[in-house]
Subunit: 197 residues, 2 copies
């Protein structure tokens, strides 16, 4: 099978790795491209991803994928949500653990939104969610971001205690990118002319 | 003196009130207008304000002021910074106090950036900063946002323990808007044709 290569606008190598694990069985490989990223402030990941995908398309003038994701903690009213990356860079894992100290309700979810811009006016959106809880302390060294404090339902280990392959089986990102793969596979005849430029 | 009225793209009545206190002696009054606000994600308030001002101008097709502000806490690497409004809505004042529990270095600053779009390609930017510390507990009921936990240098009271007039004398927002007022006053002959539409 011929490998279908599609541009993805991210500099995060972990994200590219996880996306490509999810897309492998569809014969798709995402190739990172350097695009000035335009992210708006919004409580809605879909809105952020759609805006970014359109901006990336306008810059590249060819089909491009963007992904946005966040950790939403119930007891913190959804914080850090769409700003997870900024929150990670400032208060970090320790900050979240401090905010959750003494909090009984530890429910949280990771959400990933993948937006695929095929034209300026044609953007397909795929969402993946994984429910879980915030651990009492950080564990594990795989992955990135808040992986060391997130335990998916049905597991005792954090995402950072799993290999990328194992994490991607459960994860928000794995789910969103598998939906993308399925959609591309189903529509491949229609998409071929757009993707082979 | 004839009052000069200029549109401001905000729904926050506290911001409008403080801006108009600062601008009164310049004979300027800001009038809130309803504009879909486009805020980008950035660690740089200036970048956010300039982008928003341009977008607001493109929507209104007339001169418009936008303001963006944030609380930057040294010990938290600048958190909550440009995302202060989201952080206030989720973890709130109590969340910041919890993050600062046991932290000795309580230095922080409020920063306001005012961007004034006169044309699509002409945006003037004014910045105001006030240095201070994070209080040990919330005090006062005036103002909004993180005012109850911010004590400006040289004071023992928080911003929320001061009237709007008194706060505006010290505040980041007061400083930024007074700079705007001075600039408009100095350039009024050049600006009149643009502002009287």
């Amino acid at each position: 099978m011929e490998l279908l290569r599609i541009s993805v606008a991210t500099k995060n190598r972990h994200k590219v790795e996880e996306a490509n694990i999810a897309l492998k069985s569809f014969g798709i490989e995402l190739v990172p491209v350097d695009v000035p990223k335009v992210e708006i402030q919004s409580d809605d990941l879909r809105e952020i991803a759609i805006y970014a995908a359109r901006a990336a398309y306008q810059y590249l003038r060819r089909p491009v994928v963007v992904e946005d994701s966040g950790l939403f903690i119930d007891a913190l009213n959804g914080f850090p949500g769409p700003y997870s990356s900024y929150v990670y860079r400032t208060i970090g894992v320790e900050g979240i653990l401090k905010l959750m100290r003494g909090v009984e309700d530890r429910r949280a979810r990771f959400v990933a939104v993948v937006a695929f811009a095929l034209r300026e006016d044609w953007i397909e959106v795929f969402e993946g969610v994984v429910e879980g809880t915030i651990a009492e302390e950080a564990r594990g060294s795989h992955g990135f971001g808040f992986d060391p404090i997130f335990v998916p339902f049905g597991e005792t280990r954090t995402f950072a205690e799993m290999s990328s392959e194992e994490k991607t089986r459960y994860s928000h990102r794995g789910r969103a990118f598998r939906k993308l793969g399925e959609w591309i596979a189903k529509n491949i005849d229609k998409l071929k002319p757009l993707l082979q430029t």
